[in-house]
Amino acid sequence: MLNTYEIMETIRMLEEEKLDIRTVTMGISLSDCADGDGEKAREKIYNKITKYAGDLVKTAEEIEVKYDIPIINKRISVTPISLVAAASDDPNYVEFAKTLDRAAKEVGVDFIGGFSALVHKGMTEADKKLIESIPEALAQTERVCSSVNIGTTRAGLNMDAVARMGKVVKKCAELTTDNGGVAASKLVVFANAPEDNPFMAGAFHGVGEGECMINVGISGPGAVKAALTKVKGEPFDVVAETIKKTAFKITRMGQLVAKEASEKLGVTAGIVDLSLAPTPAVGDSVARILEEMGVEVAGAHGTTAALALLNDAVKKGGVMASSHVGGLSGAFIPVSEDAGMIEAVEKGALSLEKLEAMTAVCSVGLDMIAVPGKTTADTISAIIADEAAIGMVNHKTTAVRVIPVPGKDVGEEVVYGGLFGRAPIMKVSDFSSSEFIARGGRIPAPLQSLKN
């Protein structure tokens, strides 16, 4: 039999250190739902999602009971809608988003991702329609999430799309002024978007994926932090080893859930995403791990190095624990969803510039950051371009999820509640990037050799 210490360690991780499964996400291909008649396409989409995901929530709940592990979110990702809706001659795709929302509510999932377009090299007419539909689609639905991939390491950056996305983010916030611009929190602008990411708002079911897959996102910043408190003052070799061992255990739990869920649902097991995903709850913070390593407040000098170590050690520990690792797999540093990050911003220790540097060594990017409502669309586009350039050059996924909160400015905060938390408004540069964004065209793909 297992010994008492091992059993107690697991129970402590679950109860005191807030270890949980962050999400079980079912990816569903909608490519066979395309139809010349938009109405018919939407009917097929609704029927397919409700058929495949009908038992998703029930199954996840059964697993929660069996192992006594909280599974926080049950979600669905679908084929990028710009591909599915392209066959129809609808003037815009808002109705498609409403159908996704209705299906999500019917099966009881928290979010459905995939109101998406992949435009890293160029935009089809359908891509353009989808991008123009995003603000209304997100403002008029509750559970739909949207993402647009505007660059890759192989294709470079599509600066025409970057210019558009600044305007789209702005419009999303403006259409939901009464709710702090919440629609912008459901939109991610990616470079090198992964096709099997289970996390929202950026999840979509890539074209290289199967008919239906189960992807699992783990969590556990609290467990990593607790493990590190036991090695206070030890050299970094010990820190890295400790994180690896903890990540291994956490990931094994994710692997178990992924296997069980896919078997019960009769669906292919996809990947386990190793990301350390924080929540606003006390003790569930990535910032606190960095502080445990010795920086006084997240954002102080040394934070980037600490994050680089954390991100790498989590992957090294997790990779052996799971048969298939994928998605984003890194440490998340969303500001509004991490109590430690919020505090760091409020103390003046963490700026947008420092966050940008941190995203060079971890996934996933500038995430859940509130900026002043007066920030121009061009400045947002420029923020997107900077972040995408980091992803493009470093062969990694980066994303931007910023919210220009209408009517608010630096010194104020916006409260979303739940997993989205609250966000202090962060300062952006007052200088203009308009001429830079107005150029349009494409930034060529970077050289893959002569690295320095």
Binding site: L2, T4, T10, I11, V65, D68, Q255, L256
Partner: protein, 89 residues
Amino acid sequence: MKAIISVIGVDQRGIIAEVSTLLADEKVNILDINQTILDEYFTMTMLVDLESLEIPLEELKKELKTKGEKLGVSIKLQHEDIFRSMHRI
């Protein structure tokens, strides 16, 4: 299915008796049992076989929880695979 029942709390007379009576009533077979004092807390772990259990798992968990509240201890039941997957390669 085999599961681990863990009981943690302040030590007092009759904890093992109460828990094992409940399990016997629900046709749960105890395969192994360990008891120790960890960080000043009474800590008991049991490996049990739920093969002959006639009520839904959720029901049994509720009964154990209620019993725990009565005894002033925390009682949890979890499938053994969660521990096995974490601690055994």
